[in-house]
């Protein structure tokens, strides 16, 4: 069952970078991602993996999820967050892109091998885990040095029908709420461990592929419903990443990326590129 109707590119801009399915990464694309994440972990300032992971939960707690008291900024905030993270990733490796984790495609096999194989090119796979912060005032006894996962039965992952049902919500508020609570939350809890709580979720490298899938579904919904989604009264709301407001993140093309299933570039010998 297809997740959604295939769609053409939004705009044939050659400068646009494509985020592709984690299951369709070429060996070069996967190597660039691992290289970039590995190098980000070595950076201990605001360009590094730990700092950026710490924006979501501990210690900064700036993530936006639905509450009972206000319209949510869940999708715009996380789009800006991914954008900032991907720029930092590309500063370490210009060829690296954030892939999207196609949850239904994981039902047969669980967490994608790209993120679960213990070794990559003879070295520890940097996508399996990352260090957790140590300076915790109220540190639980079972705190671990690195992120960990304990995925549930893969039959508990959202299937294609569940995704189609959410995409069919014509009202943006309903779509965003159900995408967050019925799909996004479900997968966080399914993976379990560090990604299963807001405190530590973004320290798990898999978080970024998970949220790229969430962002992709918003992009699909925008195309299918011919609407950007968030109500205009939220457009001027700052998101806390540079100058970005809600209005700035409505169109992925204006952030320089689009979603594709797969991409392969073939340089032509002697063509000067």
């Amino acid at each position: 069952m297809p997740l959604a109707p295939a769609r053409p590119p939004l705009n044939p801009d050659p400068a646009i970078r494509h985020r592709v399915s984690v299951f369709n990464l070429t060996s070069e694309q996967l190597a660039a991602l691992r290289d970039g994440i590995g190098k980000m972990k070595e950076v201990r300032d605001s360009r590094g993996f730990a700092f950026l992971a710490g924006i979501h939960g501990w210690p900064q707690y700036r993530c936006q999820h639905s509450t009972e008291t206000q319209a949510t900024l869940f999708l715009p905030w996380h789009r800006a967050y991914l954008y900032e993270f991907e720029l930092a990733l590309q500063e370490r490796n210009p060829e690296a892109r954030l892939p999207w984790w196609d949850w239904p495609a994981s039902i047969p096999g669980g967490i994608p091998a790209a993120y679960s194989d213990p070794q990559a090119a003879g070295q520890p796979n940097p996508l399996v885990a990352a260090p957790l912060p140590t300076d915790i005032p109220n540190r639980p006894e079972d705190w671990t040095a690195e992120t960990f996962r304990h995925p549930g039965p893969s039959s508990e992952l959202p299937d294609a029908a569940a995704i189609s049902a959410v995409l069919s919500e014509s009202n943006y508020y309903g779509f965003e709420l159900e995408l967050e609570t019925q799909l996004h939350n479900r997968v966080h809890g399914w993976v379990g461990g560090s990604i299963g709580q807001i405190n530590t979720a973004a320290y798990d490298p898999l978080f970024w592929a998970h949220h790229t899938m969430v962002d992709r579904l918003w992009s699909l919904w925008q195309t299918q419903h011919a609407s950007p989604g968030p109500p205009p009264e939220t457009y001027s709301t700052p998101l806390g990443f540079g100058k970005l407001t809600v209005a700035d993140v409505l169109d992925t093309m204006k952030l320089g990326y689009d979603y594709a299933a797969s991409v392969e570039h073939v340089p032509v010998a002697g063509a000067g590129h």
């Binding site: 936006q64 999820h65 639905s66 009972e68 008291t69 005032p137 109220n138 609570t181 809890g189 807001i198």
Partner: protein, 150 residues
Amino acid sequence: MDRYVSPPLSVPPRNELYEHDRIDLELHGVDHSSGSYAIRVFLDAPDVDAGTPTEGNSSYAGSFYIFGHGPCLGDEGHCDVRRGPIHPYDYRLPHQLTPQYHRLQVTDAIRGGVQGDTFTVTLVPVENRAGAYEPSELLAFTRLSLVAYS
């Protein structure tokens, strides 16, 4: 709490004038200050528990999914929910642990599965513990609503 069984709720009447028919089950004031958990929803099945199968079970209507904050890591008061602005110039966003609203479409489960004029809703929380969904005591909310649209 480890389980909730509602009092009998009335099956919303169909409006025969319109084709549209939608019934949502809503949870208000949902606490998410602990771990992540799922809330399995069963209709007219007050005796179900965390071991009750969902697959092929006609009383199972779907699940709510709560992404939990995790234990408080901060200093004293870090996880005390700030209830709104402290003065007119407080433009901060709501506290992270402000209770949540969740909803689940139960139209097909009610129209296809409920026989009488009333039915009960049973909520069974389960947690992923080491890869298996086990009974949980994290369920906490302030109101359950059944809302029908036509």
